[in-house]
Symmetry: C5
Subunit: 212 residues, 5 copies
């Protein structure tokens, strides 16, 4: 029970040494000490999460793949569960702080007010992280939309240039016995020239539309 994972090890140590307020003040102060220990556990956790989120955000801007999305979702889920864990603390401490309990000495009140403020701070921080994660989700989705737009532009440019040209060469691939153009000595270079001009014209139109 007294391994390094025990959050109350420090509290017990202070009680054993028999000094400080823990021994001179009543059971309400002991309650405060426990609550304070519990609430203080969340701060390094949230700090770590905050750093992870910032790191993910940088990753998102550099190169966003589905791995980033999965991590994003894991963070969102953790935030939901964290909030669920912290919220009841606020409820309880809020009641105590409003002086609704006769079990708390007025001298302990100021300490409990402090824990209450810490809890509020924790909740504010999770809300901030949630907002940041929501913003990152938006970036991811927008980058998806942008990529789709890019892909479709490439397809459209290629298709729009080559589909009409392929039609033209198809025309002169027809086997009609009477097709005078085919006999013209300059027919082939003429058709090639017309197609080149068409291609250039379409490229110019796409450039004007800011597509390429």
């Amino acid at each position: 029970m007294e391994g390094s994972d025990d959050p109350f090890i420090d509290l017990r140590e202070r009680l054993r040494r028999g000094k400080g307020r823990l021994r001179t003040m009543g059971s309400d102060y002991l309650t405060y000490a426990h609550l304070d220990t519990i609430v203080d556990q969340y701060f390094p956790l949230l700090e770590q999460l905050g750093e992870d989120i910032e790191q993910l955000e940088e990753q998102l801007i550099t190169y966003a793949d589905q791995e980033v999305l999965r991590t994003l979702h894991v963070f969102k889920r953790e935030m939901i569960l964290l909030r669920k864990a912290i919220w009841p603390l606020r409820e309880v401490l809020g009641h105590v702080e409003r002086g609704e309990s006769t079990l708390i000495h007025s001298s302990t009140h100021i300490y409990l007010r402090d824990v209450y403020d810490h809890t509020i701070q924790l909740i504010e921080t999770t809300e901030t992280y949630r907002d940041m994660l929501a913003g990152m989700m938006d970036i991811y989705l927008t980058s998806l939309s942008n990529k789709l737009n890019e892909t479709m532009k490439v397809l459209t440019v290629i298709a729009t240039i080559f589909i009409p040209l392929t039609f033209i060469v198809g025309v002169y691939g027809m086997n009609f016995t009477v097709m005078p153009e085919l006999e013209w000595p300059w027919g082939y270079p003429l058709v090639m020239g017309v197609m080149l001009m068409l291609a250039i014209g379409m490229l110019w139109a796409f450039r004007k539309k800011h597509w390429i």
Copy 2:
């Protein structure tokens, strides 16, 4: 009326045995007992839902089809109806707890406070589940967008490589009488080589864009 589905069966049993607080305390305690029984019914229900949601989430990550989406929607709907059922309980118990009724003895107050806290807990849990379901919906929609992007990339890669090549082979399928390239002994392998280089060049360009 006393089948196994009757939630008040236990309450009646305790009344019949004639022991405990139910017989010694007033009608306000009886009211509390009923409210407590009603509120406690929701906990196993919510627990079951929570497990179902976690299971669905795993399914969503592994393989998301429209069946998962439909289940997701059913859960969302149930959550809306659950919330609608629990909310008025909170209102009523909140009024009672704030001491607005003279029908409640002060000794019963602490019990009602307990039921009130349970109701708050129920509402918090449904809110958490709603958040989780909303997050899952987001994952589903993002996976749809990702799939569309994938599909479009495949189409664009195939079309961008083969549409220009098809144009080139179309050119040499034209029936002009004067087309010197057609007479060249190395014309055919030359054109094939040029097309191969074009294809490799485009594949390389797509690789650079991280499309393939």
Copy 3:
């Protein structure tokens, strides 16, 4: 004024008969009676809307066209207007209920509390309906995305299989004088076989991607 559409017809009738609390209690009770009549008008309306929404939801799951979307929007708009109509009632009754007016006898308070609770119930119901409509909108949009994905898959499968094949047949449609494959007696069936294998290979690849 006393047609069947007059909501206060019943109230007037009770006043005329000269019996009941309406005549023995003061003007504050009369006010209550009016407020109660007004609030009670909303219940059948909301019930009708609730049934319509459930019906629309079933329609949405069976076959969602733009007609359903339009109806959805009409319901959303009605909900906004209903909420706008009910909200001020809550404000007014909330003030009265908190005992801020000296014009209300304490004996009438319990009645007004009842109307207040009904108003809260109305607001809760509109909120629930709004949530349901928002969920239905989500289903509609997701089904649109799903349909687009389906359409694009069909296009991509067809194009990816036939565009490369069309290129191949184009190659052997070229008119180069020196194209040894064209002279091979088994050239034609060979090319057809290669193309068949290519098509089968691609179909297999699409099957593996769960596209068909």
Copy 4:
């Protein structure tokens, strides 16, 4: 300063005539009169906006282009700024109404309560308009998605029917010396017949999918 744009012109006129409550009551009533004048300015503004929004909504349903979207955005922005302008009024009047100031006579309270109620009403109306505008934005986006789906269906139907047919005619455009089908007297009508049946089959499949 006393042009027709001056909102306080009526107030000054009443002061000058030296009659009415403005002269007999104290400076708190004068404050009320000013506040009332300010708040009342917003009502015709909001009414005008409401009519404009309803008109835009009709336009949106008839024919939604980017002009409508721009107007929608302008309205949304105005709503945000209106809300920012009205909100502090509510704060101030809320304080005064809760009797926190000793500068207000109790006889003036009922008037200030009236202005407060008007402010609440203004805020409710802007909220309603915001909801309506959000709903209109949703319609616009859904109509965009619907249009994209329509466009893609047209493309897919055309491409799915003609790309395989083009492949088939390509096959019989190949120049292999040994292609027995080419010599068949009924080869040409046969191929045309097969292609016709293929096209009809695909049209039937699309009809079954409700695409055409």
Copy 5:
């Protein structure tokens, strides 16, 4: 410590000169002076941000590229962090203002009330900016959707017109020995005429659909 970046330089100066309320009033007034200095720092910051946002909005309407999106995201993030910084101020000042502390003289209360109002104003302003940024994000996303629709229309129009025509020229490129049309003297112009009419018909259909 007394460089131009020190926000308290003015406060210290006033203390040194030994005049004004700072010397005659107690430590609670000094606290107020510090809080006021801190809160006032935010106003020029927010004003600058407001101007930057308005400028970005104009940019967004003129020409929206990914650079604008990135700036938008930076602003959203700054708003989240600003809100996180200002929120606790409100909490603290709210407590003080509600008279919960005995350390504040009643004469200082009115000053603290002023700082509190400023804090509320700051929060309102950040909320307004957040709404504006969310609206701008919506515009960006809608413009993306519009662009995709435009792109797809271009692709569909081109493909729908030329894919059937390419099929037709492919038909007459087939090498069947018996193809009577090929021998007709007017076969070539006839086919070209039919294709022209088909193209015009499709262009007319697209015009009717408001696609071009």
